[in-house]
């Protein structure tokens, strides 16, 4: 209660802004309009013009929402990647505004959100360099939220220790990286291991940070991050089937938080096939549906996303906590995925699959 009393003094403004942003998240009727970009009346004019023109309609629809005229100055035909790029730019602009307005500990919290993108970017760059891709092309593909100053220099590094010593040492990821230094060569498997080790360390650190803040933040972020950890654990387990990753190493990659920890993790560590994974997760009825292949067409990945959206949506039910900031970024990301999915479906004429987006509100 004490935190609630003074919460607005520091965070009221940003929270107000954020809740304003939140009301701009597309709702189901917006999505309905978007998917309708190819039905009845529109068909007549659109089918003749082809796919590119369909995205035109996505543009027209989006201009009626909070996105306004953000695609106004793009010459048509407009491509899906442009839409996604512009949407991301907008999210980043909003996030940057929030970040510049935030005071501690919210500022730190927002920084934590960017760390996961930084991890993704780092891994993307090392993988790309490994496959000798063009640096600039790689840099363009990095998520703008996870960009840091020295990031481009990652391309120079050839060994793990070099990676650490030249670039990562001055980034906030440095402490997470300390555990990876044992790996010597940069090959596919090692990169995957590095990614998961980094993520594990990041999740645990973030979780601790949220618990330190306490109050509703700890509670809500706890739920979200625990699910995130469980999702990673399950993913790692399933993806490791049929690879040369030893089980002991696999166990080391599991985050030491989450609802599955420790018993579920121990069970997963010894799992050899999907049924064993399923039985390990059975304790939690919410997790059961992830393995339920019979229901609908959606993949496990999509079900994870749906559950994540559900948790993030719950975050808005409470006041005076930071969880909403995390939830906003994640929901907005999901929204971008949805829009990209819809416009992809439209431009590739896959109208039957168009409705498998995850509606947020």
């Amino acid at each position: 209660m004490a935190s609630a009393a003074v919460w607005n003094a520091d965070n009221g403004f940003v929270d107000g802004i954020l809740r304003g942003y939140k009301s701009g998240i597309l709702n189901s009727s917006h999505y309905l309009n978007l998917t309708q970009c190819e039905t009845v009346e529109g068909m007549k004019y659109i089918s003749s013009a082809g796919g590119a023109d369909l995205n035109e309609n996505v543009r027209l629809q989006l201009s009626a929402t909070d996105y306004g005229n953000f695609l106004q100055n793009e010459p048509s035909p407009i491509s899906t990647s442009t839409i996604s790029e512009k949407l991301t730019q907008r999210l980043v602009a909003e996030f940057d505004f929030l970040r510049t307005q935030a005071v501690q500990p919210l500022a730190k919290f927002l920084d934590y959100i960017t760390y996961s993108y930084m991890i993704d970017n780092v891994v993307l760059l090392i993988t790309g360099t490994l496959h000798e891709r063009d640096t600039h092309e790689l840099l363009d593909r990095c998520h703008p939220l996870g960009v840091f100053d020295t990031m481009p220099a990652l391309c120079v590094a050839t060994t793990v220790s070099e990676l650490y010593n030249t670039v990562l040492i001055e980034t906030p990821l440095a402490p997470y990286f300390a555990n990876c230094l044992s790996a010597q060569d940069l090959d596919e498997l090692n990169i995957e291991i590095i990614r998961n080790t980094l993520y594990k360390a990041y999740l645990e650190d973030f979780y601790d940070f949220c618990q330190k803040i306490g109050g509703p933040t700890a509670e809500i972020m706890g739920d979200i991050l625990q699910f995130e950890a469980d999702r990673r654990t399950i993913n790692i387990t399933i993806n490791s089937f049929g690879t040369e990753l030893p089980k002991e190493d696999r166990k080391k990659l599991y985050p030491n938080i989450g609802r599955l920890f420790p018993e579920g993790n121990a069970a997963l560590a010894t799992a050899d096939d999907i049924d064993q994974v399923k039985s390990a997760c059975e304790v939690f009825s919410e997790y059961l549906i992830f393995f339920d292949q019979a229901v609908g067409e959606s993949t496990m990945e999509d079900k994870f996303f749906a559950h994540e959206v559900f948790l993030n949506r719950l975050a808005w039910q409470q006041q005076f906590h930071f969880g909403t900031f995390y939830a906003y970024v994640k929901l907005k990301e999901q929204e971008i995925r949805n829009i990209v999915w819809i416009s992809e479906c439209i431009s590739q004429n896959q109208k039957d699959r168009i409705s498998s987006y995850i509606s947020i509100f």
Partner: protein
């Protein structure tokens, strides 16, 4: 057909147009030029992008998109909209295609020029950077040269001291052969990246480098974003090929550009010269490209406004056509819209013209529909009445065919304003301003106006009338810049023999000043006492008359809407209530004015008691009904009369409260028995529409005004609120009219103060000081008169007059729940975009 007046809004008809689709576009063009029809949306359920003519609109949007930005970038102004382009006719489909083709051609050409310009600029950028690299590194090399010896010495010393033999030998050979064999990398990197660059280099090479950097003082423009970049030249000396290539890789990944330059100073010098000359050439080419691009853009700018006018008109046409419906065979467009009944022949004529000019033999058909939908309110205004009508519209759009207070506002508004702004001098200044606006209106209308000026310009006729009325009231108050004029023979004389400081009393000459206030009052001690009493009473009289008039307007509404009973049930008790209290009060005021209270009888005694206070009379009328203190009596029989009036007022309250609801209840229960017959009527209506068109029919049913559910309790609550509000408002609104007095007093006092403080003081001086002082004092006085008395006081009087019209006047009768007639017209479409 009745003549159109401002008293009621125009009679409207719902018309249906069948337009053959091949002549739809010219027909709508014709209607757009006319601006007489407001189209209804016949596809309200259809999304914006699913409408029939979306693709056409998008095409036009595309046409608009490109050039504005280009012109803005090169800072070229388009030609302002002239009347000629304003009336540029919307074009046929063929012409639109041509226009699109032409625009596209221009766009391609501009784009080409842009790309070549960008390419050149990039080249220019590279060369400039290279020049800087060459220039700056020359300095570094010189420094390095001079330092090399000392470095070598250092190395030598070290080696002799500590280094192992073998290694020394190898390196020694190197040193001896080519001097200090340091490789180097030179390049350019943006300034904010430099610290990061240095850090990364330091860490990855473990400090095995010598780096130097210098700022480029010349701003470098990025060809893509047009932003000015700040860049630094760097040179890095390091040892070993591996390391050099690593440095190169790092600098490239961090966005630096590497320029390799030659080792020998001579070659560098030559290169510098060459680069400089190439920059010169490039600069010329660049400015040439710029010139041609600018010329092209200028050519476009010439015509752009005309083109855009066409494009905007076309867009407006298609937006209007999106509201239409196709008939079953898709050969006809069906449009529905509101149109003033008087204008139907004009519209029909326009349809005929469009058909003829497009050479089609199938003409459009216009039919009038019977409907129960609420028509829009359309007041036909001209430039004079427009401003006044908008004062009323700002409060609320009149219900269809309701008595329009705008008509009365024409006179009452300037009059009430002038009551508060009574000063002939100020009125004259305002008149000059208003005349300037009115006489030059054609010229001023063409000019670009800022927001404030356009506001004044819009209300120029209001200002004109306001100033004329304040001339009149100023003459009544006998105020000219707070001074008075003696135009006629005054009714008082001052005694001639008095000593300084003595209070003297004017002697009445038994005659009345011919018009307005006697100038003798000016400067008298009791002037304020007199004018206050006069203006206060005047305010009450004006107020009560104004409100009584407003109540009387209800009769027209009741009769027009077929509620004759309401005249007896609502209007009558209202007017009786009002008049028995406040009507009586103004009678008292007038009576008190008309009586000579100081009249003496033959023996020199007062015939009458001293004049009683009217305020107390009114208060005691309620506190002691039927009794009047003989000391305060105005006229004999006052007590019983007041008793009677109070009785009337008291009876009026339940009359107002109960009469209307019970009447409505009785009417409703009678109506219920008749509904069967009524229903048949409704179905007939619908069937008639059914054979017209089917799809639009569905929402007709929704749109149609449903018979309102009658709920007695609701009506009762509504009426009791209404009654209480009316009774209380009679009192508070009458008091509210006292603002006429207050504002007028404030205005007079303020102008007196201003006169005395700024100008009058200089009249006491003589000589040079008086000249300077008067010039200074007058300018100060004049500026403040214009700013405070005309500007601020005028605005405040305007606002108070506005309030009196909106609350006190309109509140008594105006329903104001209609919606405005907004016809589809090009003039509108062009002015809003």
């Amino acid at each position: 057909m009745s003549e159109s007046t401002l008293f009621r809004s125009e009679e409207m008809s719902l018309v249906q147009l069948y337009i053959p689709s091949e002549i739809a576009q010219p027909t709508v063009t014709e209607l757009g030029e006319l601006g007489l029809v407001q189209f209804r949306d016949l596809n309200p359920d259809v999304n914006a992008f699913q409408r029939s003519f979306v693709s056409e609109i998008r095409r036009l949007d595309e046409m608009e998109r490109f050039f504005e930005k280009q012109l803005e970038k090169s800072e070229i102004n388009t030609r302002a909209l002239t009347t000629a382009t304003y009336y540029a006719r919307a074009r046929s489909a063929q012409e639109i295609d041509d226009l699109e083709e032409r625009l596209r051609e221009h766009e391609v050409r501009i784009l080409q020029m842009n790309t070549s310009h960008e390419k050149l600029q990039r080249k220019y950028l590279q060369l400039t950077e290279l020049r800087h690299v060459l220039r700056e590194t020359a300095v570094f090399f010189e420094q390095a040269e001079s330092r090399q010896d000392s470095i070598r010495n250092l190395f030598d010393n070290q080696e002799t001291d500590t280094a192992p033999l073998l290694e020394r030998d190898v390196e020694q050979a190197n040193f001896d052969g080519t001097g200090l064999n340091l490789g180097y990398v030179t390049g350019v990197i943006s300034k904010d990246r430099l610290p990061t660059f240095q850090r990364v280099l330091w860490r990855s090479l473990r400090g095995n480098l010598y780096m130097n950097s210098a700022e480029i003082d010349e701003p470098i423009t990025d060809p893509v974003t047009d932003e000015v970049l700040e860049k630094n030249v760097f040179i890095i000396f390091a040892h070993g090929r591996e390391i050099i290539s690593k440095i190169k890789k790092i600098s490239e990944s961090l966005g630096g550009t590497i320029y390799s330059i030659d080792e020998s100073p001579d070659k560098r010098r030559d290169e510098l010269l060459e680069v400089t000359s190439r920059i010169e050439d490039l600069h010329n080419v660049l400015s040439n490209t710029n010139q041609t691009r600018r010329a092209e853009l200028l050519k476009i700018a010439e015509n752009l406004t005309a083109w855009f006018t066409i494009v905007k008109k076309e867009k407006a046409i298609y937006h209007a056509m999106n509201l239409f419906n196709y008939d079953a065979t898709r050969k006809c467009l069906i449009a529905e819209g509101w149109c003033a009944t008087r204008d139907i022949p004009v519209v029909q004529n326009a349809l005929r013209t469009a058909t003829e000019s497009s050479g089609s033999n199938v003409s459009s058909i216009l039919t009038e529909l019977r409907t129960r939908k609420k028509p829009p309110t359309f007041h036909r205004t001209n430039k004079f009445t427009e401003g006044f009508q908008s004062i009323i519209d700002a409060y609320g759009i009149a219900r269809y065919r309701e008595v329009n207070p705008g008509l009365f506002t024409l006179i009452t508004f300037p009059f009430l304003f002038a009551v508060m702004f009574g000063d002939t001098g100020h009125g004259a200044l305002m008149l000059i301003f208003a005349l300037y606006l009115v006489l030059n209106e054609k010229k001023l209308a063409r000019q670009e106006q800022d927001e404030i000026f356009s506001m004044f310009f819009y209300g120029r006729y209001i200002i004109l009338l306001m100033s004329i009325f304040s001339l009149y009231t100023g003459a009544l108050y006998n105020d000219v810049f707070s001074q008075s004029l003696t135009l006629f023979k005054t009714g008082f004389a001052w005694p001639s023999n008095f000593t300084t400081g003595q209070t003297v009393e004017a002697i009445s000459l038994n005659q009345t000043y011919a018009f307005g206030l006697d100038p003798t009052w000016h400067g008298a001690d009791n002037a304020l006492l007199f004018t206050n009493s006069y203006k206060m009473k005047q305010a009450i009289i004006i107020g009560v008359v104004h409100m009584t008039f407003a109540i009387c307007l209800n009769i027209f509404n009741h009769i027009y809407y077929g509620n004759k009973m309401f005249v007896w049930l609502e209007f009558l008790p209202q007017i009786l209530f009002m008049e028995s209290i406040f009507g009586y009060l103004i009678c008292l005021i007038l009576y008190k004015w008309s009586v000579n209270w100081w009249e003496l009888d033959a023996s020199g005694n007062h015939i009458r008691n001293s004049p009683p206070s009217l305020l107390n009379t009114l208060i005691y009328m309620f506190l002691q009904p039927g009794y009047v203190d003989p000391k305060d009596q105005l006229f004999p029989g006052q007590g019983p009369l007041q008793m009677f009036l109070i009785l009337i007022a008291v009876v009026c309250v339940p009359w107002m409260l109960l009469g209307k609801p019970y009447y409505l209840k009785a009417r409703h229960s009678k109506h219920q028995y008749e509904t069967v017959a009524g229903d048949e009527d409704v179905t007939f209506d619908h069937e008639e529409e059914q054979d017209g068109h089917t799809s639009a029919n569905e929402h007709h049913a929704i749109d149609d005004e449903e018979e309102e559910e009658f709920e007695f309790s609701e009506e009762m609550i509504h009426q009791s609120i209404h009654t209480i509000e009316f009774c209380l408002n009679c009192i508070s609104n009458t008091a509210s009219y006292l603002r006429l007095w207050a504002l007028s007093l404030a205005h007079a006092q303020l102008s007196t103060v201003l006169w005395e403080m700024t100008l009058k003081i200089w009249f006491y001086y003589t000589g040079a000081l008086a000249v300077v002082g008067l010039v200074f004092g007058f300018s100060l006085w004049f500026v403040l008169t214009c700013a405070i008395l005309l500007g601020m006081e005028g605005l405040s009087a305007f606002l108070h007059a506005l309030r009196l019209h909106w609350v006190e006047f309109a509140g008594k009768h105006y329903l104001g729940d209609g919606y405005k007639f907004e016809p589809f017209s090009f003039a509108q479409a062009l002015s809003t975009q």
